[in-house]
């Protein structure tokens, strides 16, 4: 697999070639179209948010990037290489991790097993152990519960576990789908702290989030998705300070 | 709806004309067997196709029907016109009992528990010597009665007409729509006031009744009933018919019954290879005609732009 050369982290950079470029992406479930031409760019080191109403197509976009869904048409380029319609394992191997909506931890496996499996593609046992050490270091609460079945964790813990698992593949790009879903504000705040820290370590983040204030507080730029299309792309600060946004968002 | 009705009526008229056109007794025998299987396949289809639960225990009703008719004929000398309806009613009672237990389960559990009931009945039939004569079976059912094959044909055609009429009425009634609603989306069905259990039960008992009639006819036609009427191989044949023709349509099981009956007979030419080939054909059907012949035709019509009216079309199954 190709190794990805990283630019120096620059949280606001929009110039230069993006690491991830999605152009005119169309996706359909059966015969029902879900995306009608999504285009977006993510630059190295950025945190980018996708915001929009339920069913607008945010999750679908992430699923298409990570190879879970087939693109009808359009392109997805990762570091200049086309990755559209490649199987998920190749995309994980190329350095994109997808942390899905509703967490999708394996409930009947222990926390430890869940985390270890995140590094499934890493064949070196020592390496896996090192990464697990780092994961437990980052998420001390998970270390306490290492032997517990993942299904018995609370929602926030499961979210942490899902992120820890996704990080085990040492991704260059982490895609997070609604990480604050169903979490208390305090818990959500904790999750976003983690996201900031991950980003600070040089991992690019593509975030789908309904809690718009949190999203904008973390992300440098945001795309607004409506009914399968991108309707706005603006820096977070601009959106945050625009009182019209609140209404626009609430008004769908 | 009207299309399906017309097709069925057309097939019925064709079948009614058959004895006048065909004098060959072997062909007539095949026609009788095809109609017998059509009744069975249709009755199973009510459960598999309309309730959407996969029953592998339908031989329980075929068998109870066959044994009821055989016992009434051999022990009490009942004539066919009385014994066959009785067979249907007894099978319906069994359907009520078995349905009450099995319809609470779904998916693979339902599959295995229905199969278990058929096996339990088979083992009882095989061992309750006093009543069923055990493995020796009941021979000489309806002896000295009907001899002409054309009469048997007329009877089985009548039974088929009756069962298809009942199915047609059921499927296109409020009750049938409720069953389909349960199949398609259990939650929606409940939210519009359908009792899923009760609705499935209606179809299940109706299917049992019709399978019982078929069993009663079988007893008189073959004149021998043994525990093998409960066997899984019978079940496999019927299920293949339903799925090959296309479940969830009324025409599908008829087509499946005719094709499988003819196929089994004409493959005889291949001697030892025939069952191997039959197995391959079954696999090919699953892989290449996943919705049976009727599903295939419906899809072709849809692609041509006609209104889909024969069967609920296909596309996505429940995820």
């Amino acid at each position: 697999m190709s190794t990805i050369t990283m630019d120096a982290p620059d949280r606001t950079a929009t110039a230069g070639d993006p690491v991830l470029r999605v152009q005119d992406l169309h996706v359909a479930y059966g015969s029902t179209a879900a995306l009608h031409g999504i285009s977006l760019d993510v630059h190295a080191g950025e945190t980018v948010a996708l915001i929009g109403a339920n069913g607008a197509g945010k999750s679908t976009t992430l699923r298409a990037i990570s190879g879970l869904l087939k693109a009808r048409s359009g392109s997805i380029d990762w570091n200049g290489k086309p990755i559209a319609n490649r199987p998920p394992e190749e995309i994980v191997a190329a350095g994109i991790a997808h942390c899905p909506e509703e967490r999708h931890v394996w409930p009947g496996m222990t926390v430890e097993e869940n985390i270890a499996l995140g590094a499934y593609l890493c064949r070196s046992k020592d390496e896996v152990r090192t990464r697990m050490g780092m994961a437990f270091h980052r998420f001390p609460r998970l270390r306490e519960r290492a032997r517990q079945m993942a299904g018995t964790l609370s929602g926030g813990e499961q979210q942490m576990l899902a992120i820890a698992r996704a990080l085990m593949s040492e991704p260059r790009l982490l895609m997070l789908d609604e990480p604050s879903l169903g979490l208390s504000p305090r818990m959500a705040e904790e999750v976003f702290e983690v996201v900031r820290a991950i980003n600070a370590h040089g991992v690019t983040v593509l975030l789908v989030e309904q809690n718009i204030h949190n999203a904008l507080a973390v992300a440098s730029r945001a795309y607004v998705v409506q009914t399968g299309r991108i309707t706005t792309a603006r820096p977070s600060a601009e959106l945050r300070d625009d009182p019209e946004l609140l209404k626009a968002y609430l008004g769908g | 709806m009207t299309l399906e009705r017309n097709v069925l009526l057309g097939l019925g008229v064709l079948a009614a004309l058959l004895p006048f056109a065909v004098t060959d007794q072997y062909l007539l025998h095949l026609a009788v067997m095809a109609l017998f299987y059509a009744i069975l396949a249709n009755s199973l289809n009510l459960v598999v196709g309309y309730v959407g639960e996969f029953s592998l225990g339908h031989t329980a009703f075929l068998g109870t029907g066959a044994y009821t008719a055989a016992l009434l004929s051999v022990n009490a000398g009942w004539p066919m016109w009385a014994a066959v309806p009785a067979a249907g009613l007894v099978a319906a009672l069994f359907g009520l009992g078995i349905g009450a237990i099995t319809l609470r389960l779904q998916g693979p559990y339902f599959v295995i528990v229905t199969l278990s009931f058929a096996e339990v009945l088979r083992i009882i039939a095989n061992n309750w010597i006093g009543v069923t004569n055990g493995p020796m079976g009941l021979a000489g059912v309806g002896q000295g009665g009907i001899a002409d094959k054309r009469v048997f044909f007329a009877i089985v055609l009548g039974l088929a007409a009756l069962t298809f009429y009942l199915s047609y009425r059921f499927v296109y009634s409020n009750a049938g729509r409720a069953a389909v609603a349960v199949r398609e989306n259990r939650y929606v069905a409940q939210s519009i006031g359908v009792n899923p259990f009760g609705s499935a039960m209606q179809a299940f008992v109706l299917g049992a009744f019709m399978a019982g009639l078929a069993g009663g006819f079988y007893a008189f036609y073959i004149s021998f009933v043994g525990p093998e009427v409960f066997r899984f191989s019978f079940m496999a044949t019927i299920i293949i018919m339903v799925l090959m023709g296309g479940k969830g349509t009324l025409v599908g099981p008829v087509v499946g019954a005719v094709i499988v009956t003819l196929l089994e007979e004409y493959l005889r030419e291949l001697q030892e290879l025939r069952l191997s080939l039959f197995g391959l054909i079954v696999m090919a059907i699953v892989l290449f005609l996943p919705n049976g012949l009727m599903g295939f035709i419906a899809r072709r019509r849809e692609q041509r732009g006609d209104a889909p009216s024969l069967s609920p079309a296909i596309e996505e199954r429940t995820v």
Binding site: T32, A53, S154, G251 | A181, I192, P312, E316
Partner: protein, 266 residues
Amino acid sequence: MTALPTQRHGGEPLLRAENLTMRFGGITAVKQVGFSVGPGEIVGLIGPNGAGKTTCFNMLTGFYTPTEGRVFFKGADVTSHKPHAIARLGLIRSFQKTNVMKRLTVFENVLTGHYLEGRQSLLATFFPGERVRRAEREARESAAAVVETMGLARRMNAPAHLLSCGELRLLEVAVALAAKPTLLMLDEPAAGLNSHEALLFGETLKTLIGKVVQSLLIVEHNMELVMGVCDRIVVLNFGQMLAEGEPREILNNPKVAEAYLGKAAA
């Protein structure tokens, strides 16, 4: 927090929930929620994802049996009734995303929705007399009319899986309406609609009140729709009641803004 009886409309409310609590294992999904829906009212139930709205819906309609609390519909306690039994009393709901039978056509979907009106004995099913035939005819006419009302006439014979997102939402409501509800409960009926479609959808909903249904209870994310349509709004957050009041009050409630939009920080 306990239920605030709806004084404005007077008399017994159509639907009343008292102290509803739902626990799954160790997790409390809904805690002591109480509210009511009066005759002629459109009530909105809002809250962030995971706030317990759908769980509430499931308890009200019998799909879940609440761990604690009671549900009254038309004055009768329906707390542990089966879903179909509650539906038969006139409390009809839709489901988030999946409220149609995808392989059936639009017309068949709505016709199936008429189930309760057309119930009959098995004998009548097999040997339909004039009464049953008339009922069947009427059901078909009524179904066609409902399809028309919801603006789906053009798609009458299309299988539901071919419908667009907006059409699906309309069909969901149509199926529920076909069951002739007294109180109609809709779970995110406008999900996936753009603002224009949502607005039109809201207008359609408003026309139903008093004519087709007595009252509406809506779970919805689309604030514009909720604010524009509802008489009263109940806000849930983390399974508990956060606020209740008229749209204007809710819009200006800082707690609601925070719950929805996160801390208005930075």
